[in-house]
Amino acid sequence: MKINTASVPLPAWLEVVVIPILNIAVALFFAGLIMLAIGVDPIEAVGIMVRGALGSDYAIGYTLYYTTNFIFTGLAVAVAFHASLFNIGGEGQAYIGGLGVTLVFLLLDRWLPAVLLIPIGIGAAALFGAAWAFIPGWLQAHRGSHIVITTIMFNFIAASLMVYLLVNVLIQPGQMSPESRQFDESAWLPFMHEFLGVFGLDVTRTPLNLSLLLALVCCVGVWLYIWRTRWGYELRTAGQSEAAAVYAGIRPKTVIVSAMCVSGALAGLMAVNEIMGVHHRLIMNFTAGYGFTGIAVALMGRNHPVGIVMASLLFGVLYQGGAELAFDVPLITREMVVAVQGLIILFCGALALMLRPWVVKVWLLFKRPESLEPAHA
């Protein structure tokens, strides 16, 4: 019996849990084939990956540290997506967010207490990130310049700008490496092991810091903003249909600019993790591809905060587990790990719906009597 499977609705637990798990399984299957081809036992390799990512508090700390970055950049892409804008400038926006934190701290870190410096730093990261996204947003809204092109260009501009500033302006005098001076300790965001130590819990030292809590707060905030406020309503309306937005008294131009600013601010907050929480100074290229991975995270997470957290965790596991794998097994290089990550993105993103028709057919076998009730065509 021929069915148009795309039009059959599946219950949420199938769409959101089972199908993604199946996708990951297929990806890992192909990854396993590659590993077999180079002479590595795939089961053992997956075991090393999972243990390396989740097997100790050291592993979990690193995994969650990576996860924090992905949550910020994933949220950034997702917010813009709801307005039908493809913001791929997360790298640049995060980088410039870091610049904002640095400038503010270099100025104020010796004068103000931590209780003021931390919020100011967070605000600066968001503000500078938003500003970097504002220009492409304005150009799209008022000149029709395509956001994809302008945001990518702004990534390059940010990279060049930061190289210039780090080498010529912000570099600590007398130092060789292009970094700013280290911030005063009152400007440091507490590490998680320090924070937990206050409660008597002894965990291994990792870069994981309190910015994870900020990331989770942002998830709630984004969820409220998109689905529970009238600005989010206007954003989604304009994203779905510009004509309907105009009909409803919404100004699409305003929505485009504000969506990009919120998106840029979220990307900028990634600097709170890296600059305020880990390095405590501005270093070159701290964004290291997190901005781009944020796109995959948003897509896999279906642009919803819950999905983004799960996808961020998955990528955190991949990054940390992959690092362990490359370290433990000499045959597996860093590039190989990237290939595995690529396969996961392929099967969970581009080919996310590839298995759906079969899942529908199996589902219908079990649900046949009720689902084929006659309905008005």
């Binding site: 529970r228 779905q240 249909s241 009909y247 008294g249 309905a375 065509a377």
Partner: protein
């Protein structure tokens, strides 16, 4: 009129295999029919679009298929033309089973189709359009010579005259349709299916089409007419079948039935016809809800969309704007709703003066108690992926009553939506359902509910019953009349003349961006309006 149809003793049941007088064989095959469907069933997931359809159409007759939107007519025709394959059942052409898997197969067995939305290339000539896809030689010139000869023969035989070298894009709609018919005949169609052919025609062009169809019938071509317009069924068909909710519920000989019976069969219950027109005239000093002076609109390509339009609508009156689609009515609505900026002119809407420099935007319009039911409900009126509750506040999402400290009060929104759904009979009455999954009629009722709920003082309505089933049409018309009686000034734009004539106290006709005629509602005459719509009336 009934050449070729079988007259039956049992009064009116035509087309059920095995029951016809001549040519029926034991296994249900009717050898005298041009087209026969047996037990056609088609499902899309959980939806049964066609269920067990039996149909038999005799050669050389005009057969009508009626049904509401969503009854399954388009699916059935798509199966005949090879766009879909039926899940069960078979198709017999001339008594022989036919396996139709593509439009090529359909054409090979002699089926030709004229779609509701023409499949023509505007930048090609009539000749090139007819040849497209049916070329026999590799070089175009050889094909063209053959085609020209054949077309000239067809034109004289069937009485269709079109300039073969004219570009299709420049032809009037009626001639474009004739090009489509020629395309089918060129491919030796013996069964011609027309899907809602008169939606884009003036009454006069529709009459011309029917003349062509009658000629085709005389030459032995079988014509199947799919329409929801019962008047046309009564005018031209020999036999008619009624589809309801995916099933064939009745076959009738046209001469033995009536519009009323067909309407009841389509809907499944008796309908009443109501006269909506206002009983007495409004007092002469009634204030104006809308007053338009010298409105002009030139679009980005330099085409004149509105040329010096003057009109006024009093409170408590419905002004109907008639005309074939594309003559400026849509632009008129858009300008008055604040969605589009005019090039010149000014208007006063519910007391607020508006001009090119000072055009209120749609949210200001709503504050002025001017509400707008858009022509294109899927593009403007709703967001398909939003829930019904979210769509029910489109345009009103900033209201105080649904806000709480910056957040939207979803429970209040849901409650309001449920209330709207109940008052306007929107089914199913579930605010959490996706807006896109409601039927056209229910979507339209939801939009209307949203716009009428706040008792607007001026209402702009475009195509309120397009794609809406008969039951919903009744309710929508009632609600509009209710608003009028409460003193609302209503500007109604519709391509359905019947609707305009049923509701309007005054009727304007637009042609190429200007008002070319005006009549009082109760003096309206369909022929006269038709002539105005084509700008062919006496005082033009």
């Amino acid at each position: 009129m009934n050449s070729g149809s079988a007259a039956l003793a049992d009064g009116g049941i035509v087309g059920t295999p095995g029951k016809t007088g001549d040519g029926a064989t034991g296994d249900g095959i009717d050898a005298g029919s041009a087209l026969q469907l047996r037990g056609i069933t088609k499902r899309f997931g959980a939806v049964v679009a066609n269920r067990g359809i039996d149909l038999s159409v005799r050669r050389g007759t005009i057969h009508g298929i009626v049904g509401e939107n969503g009854a399954g007519k388009s699916t059935l025709m798509s199966i005949l033309y090879g766009f879909y394959q039926a899940d069960e059942g078979d198709v017999l052409i001339g008594g022989k089973p036919a396996d139709i898997r593509s439009s090529r197969d359909a054409i090979d067995v002699g089926i030709g189709m004229v779609h509701q939305h023409f499949m023509l290339v505007d930048t090609f000539s009539v000749l090139e359009n007819v040849m497209l896809g049916a070329e026999e030689h590799r070089l175009l010139a050889a094909n063209a010579a053959d085609a020209r000869r054949e077309l000239q023969r067809l034109e004289s035989e069937y009485g269709l005259s079109i300039e073969l070298d004219a570009l299709v894009g420049g032809l009037p709609v009626g001639e474009q349709q004739r090009t489509e018919i020629l395309k089918a005949l060129y491919r030796h169609a013996e069964i011609l299916i027309l899907d809602e052919p008169t939606g884009v025609l003036t009454p006069q062009e529709a009459d011309q089409l029917f003349r062509v169809l009658r000629t085709l019938r005389e030459r032995g071509v079988t014509v199947i007419l799919i329409t929801h317009k019962l008047r046309e069924i009564m005018d031209i068909t020999d036999t008619v079948s009624v589809l309801r909710l995916g099933e064939m519920v009745a076959h009738r000989t046209t001469a033995d039935t009536s519009m009323g019976e067909l309407a009841e069969l389509m809907v499944g219950r008796p309908l009443q016809s109501v006269n909506h027109l206002r009983g007495e005239d409004l007092p002469a000093d009634t204030s104006l809800g809308i007053d338009v002076r010298g409105l002009k609109l030139v679009d980005a390509d330099g085409a004149i969309r509105l040329a010096d339009v003057d009109l006024s609508v009093r409170r408590g009156e419905i002004l109907g704007v008639a005309g074939v689609a594309g003559n400026g009515q849509s632009e008129l609505l858009e300008v008055l709703a604040g969605i589009r900026k005019p090039s010149a002119g000014h208007f006063v809407i519910n007391g607020r003066e508006a001009s090119v420099e000072d055009l209120p935007d749609p949210s200001s319009m709503r504050e002025l108690r001017v509400h707008h039911v858009p022509e294109d409900r899927l593009k403007l009126g709703l967001i398909k992926s939003f829930s019904a509750a979210e769509s029910s506040v489109l345009g009103y999402h900033r209201a105080e009553r649904i806000r709480w400290r910056g957040l939207l009060r979803l429970s209040t929104i849901r409650r309001i939506c449920r209330d709207l759904m109940e008052r306007f009979d929107v089914r199913p009455g579930d605010p959490s359902l996706r807006s896109g999954s409601f039927s056209g009629g229910n979507q339209q009722k939801l939009i209307l509910a949203r716009e009428l709920d706040k008792r607007p003082e001026v209402l702009l309505v475009g195509q309120p019953t397009r794609g809406v089933d008969i039951g919903a049409i009744e309710l929508i018309h009632e609600k509009l009349v209710e608003m009028r009686d409460a003193g609302c000034a209503i500007l109604l734009v519709s391509v359905e003349l019947d609707e305009i004539m049923a509701l309007s106290d005054r009727i304007l006709v637009m042609y190429e961006g200007r008002i070319v005629g005006q009549v009082a509602g109760r003096d309206a005459d369909k022929t006269e309006l038709g002539l105005m719509m084509a700008n062919a009336h006496e005082s033009s």
